[in-house]
Amino acid sequence: MKYLAHRVLQSFFLLVGVSVLSFIFVELSPGNYFDEMRLDPRISSETVSRLRMQYGLDRPLPVRYARWLDSVAKGQFGFSFAYNAPVASLLWPRARNTLVLTGSATLLAWMIALPLGILSAARRNGLVDHATLLFTALLLAIPDLLLALGLLLFAVRTALLPAGGMMAVGSEEMGAWDQTKNLAIHMIGPVLVLVLACLPTLVRHTRAAMVDALNLPFARAARTHGISPRRILFRHAFPVALNPLISLFALSIGSLLSASLLTEVVFSWPGLGPLLLEAILGRDFYVVTGAVVLASVFLVCGTLLGDFLLIAVDPRIRMEKLA
């Protein structure tokens, strides 16, 4: 328990570090949201400086950071200049959409990667193994951007899938079932891109972990004892291979979030990606900070989840860390 508490505390400090870092970057950057207003002759300089004062931009860095922390504690995450609203009210719906996308992509990718990896490890140098190796090598070399654009082309050309967006126009009037169906159809494109983007790494690591596990002396011993290959595979080797895969799960969340950022922009999915891009182009710093911190919260949560899972499945770690 002490170990877990320690990990949670560490993650918390990590998040504080991320937020401090982004505040320092803001401080170093030239210009802010209100500088563009200065160019407008219809807005007087008094108005600009009053606005700056209103949003606290004239205060020194530590004061601004303290104010920001205060607003985080209130659940507001600062204030967006462009939308004239608390950042949290912008972030939550967007974050939900991003989570829907990445969550289903993670689930689907693992559901494909685990059987495929195990199968190619069980039949090493077989047909499936070679095909998988070739397929993943090809996928590994195709950039996420091209995957997304290619799928968009497919969607536009064949009209089988909607070309971007999350809901069809007028979906508000549909029933709950139709709405879900509509959402699912819109999700196919971006989810497919994300799955294809992270599949090669997952499959290859699964295969490597299983091959390692099957080569361990105990697995060979089990084979000489005449235990059926299926039982060795699932009952004996798989639990051993699970350990590195859980670490991979935590790591893959980060790359998935990054890939999702790009995919959302290409497919105009209303997630964190387009919001972040707009905020950067509009120099809306609190939104940028909020989105970045939120993304790191997701990542840190994933890592923590990975730690918990490791402790749950691996008795060696449990003994070592909890003792």
């Binding site: 990590l14 570090g17 991320v18 870092l21 982004s22 970057f25 803001v26 170093l28 950057s29 030239p30 210009g31 090598a137 590994l140 070399a141 195709i142 950039p143 996420d144 951007l145 091209l146 654009l149 968009l152 082309l153 536009v156 050309r157 070309a163 790494t201 290859r204 690591h205 490597a208 980060g254 790359s255 979030l257 990054s258 890939a259 950022l261 790009l262 922009v265 290409v266 972040l276 891009l277 905020a279 950067i280 182009l281 120099r283 710093f285 940028v288 900070t289 989105a291 970045v292 993304a295 790191s296 990542l299 840190v300 890592t303």
Partner: protein, 345 residues
């Protein structure tokens, strides 16, 4: 297959791409910003070895394009006006990174015919020329950024591993901080806090700096690990006994042990950084028009009509794929040579 063979093919491919893009001025028939407003989205030119009379020629020729009346972007060749290609002719002046200055070009054709081997973009600019110039920028950004982040990693990793204590603690906390963020978010955040409107050369340097900062953490951690074990080696201790200074030990005895790892890390980072540059420019956060980069060339595909109608605009994507696959193969060949097995195989 022998060990060397794994290296040769990707190495040659990578070197060839870098050389061709480095000499983009020579290989490109036109300057990257030369427009022809009468020929937007012209398809790739056909090379004719037979003229209108049906006589064969060794020297290929290109025919002038005529836009079909009242149909935008649909062209027909005027077979009566064909112009032979000229090789190694003089044209506009170019320089390759201030090293080579010349006005020789591989290919040219007399106007009004235009040689668009890969078609033209929306402003009637030659896609091939832009691909070459854009490749020069994108590939150089990748190389330099990888060099700077590996260099930063080497410096901080060696110092952290060698001195240990609070120095190590600070560097390692920073490493964890940088690894804790999803890299694209980190890249965006860094880019967000830098000025938006910058000149192309400033944007180029800015990109390199930002990419270099984003990726230093992983090499630094790996190098620290090596340094931790290397500094306890007997020959290092012996050199210290002889009175070698800290800098001498690090520079002469410890750092060289990390070079193999550095090279592999660089081969892994370069394609990632090329992709990162392409991503940023694609989203309008990198190098701006008219200077081409593979990213802002691909950005044209965000318009549906371009995405569907003009397949040659995909050329930078295909080039990107080729560069990436060869860098991956190079990196995995290096890993095989260093560790006996690539770590994902």
């Amino acid at each position: 297959m022998s060990k060397g063979k794994h290296f040769v093919v990707p190495m040659v491919c990578v070197a060839a791409v870098h050389l061709v893009t480095f000499l983009s001025g020579f290989f490109a028939p036109y300057d990257y910003s030369e427009q022809d407003r009468h020929l937007p989205y012209a398809p790739p030119s056909t090379l004719h070895f037979r003229d209108a009379q049906g006589t064969w020629h060794w020297r290929p020729s290109v025919c002038a394009l005529v836009e079909r009346p009242e149909q935008f972007g649909v062209y027909e060749e005027d077979r009566t006006r064909c112009f032979p290609l000229a090789f190694f002719t003089r044209g506009y002046r170019y320089s390759a990174f201030w090293l080579i200055q010349s006005d020789r070009h591989l290919l040219a054709v007399t106007p009004p015919a235009k040689i668009f081997l890969l078609g033209s973009d929306g402003y009637g600019r030659d896609e091939l020329s832009r691909l070459l110039y854009g490749g020069r920028l994108s590939l150089c950004a990748g190389l330099l950024a990888a060099a700077s982040s590996v260099g930063l990693g080497l410096l901080l990793g060696t110092v952290a591993g060698y001195y240990g204590g609070w120095c190590d603690a600070i560097v390692m906390r920073c490493v964890e901080l940088f690894l804790a963020l999803p890299w694209l978010y980190l890249l965006f955040a860094l880019r967000a806090f830098l000025p938006l409107h910058v000149s192309p050369s400033q944007a180029f340097l800015l990109l390199i700096a930002v990419l270099g900062i984003v990726g230093w953490a992983r090499p630094a951690r790996l190098i620290r690990g090596i340094v931790l074990s290397e500094k306890e080696r007997t020959y290092v201790l012996a050199a210290r006994m002889f009175g070698g200074s800290d800098f001498y030990l690090m520079h002469q005895h410890i750092a060289p042990r990390t070079y193999g790892l550095l090279l592999t890390q660089a081969a892994l980072l370069v394609p990632q950084y090329i992709l990162a540059e392409v991503t940023l420019s694609f989203l309008g956060l990198g190098v701006a028009e008219p200077v081409p980069s593979w990213g802002n060339m691909l950005a044209a595909l965000q318009q549906y009509d371009v995405l569907v109608s003009y397949w040659w605009i995909w050329a930078p994507g295909f080039a990107l794929f080729l560069v990436c696959i060869n860098y991956w193969r190079l990196a995995s060949a290096m890993q095989v040579a260093a560790e006996g097995t690539a770590h994902w195989q």
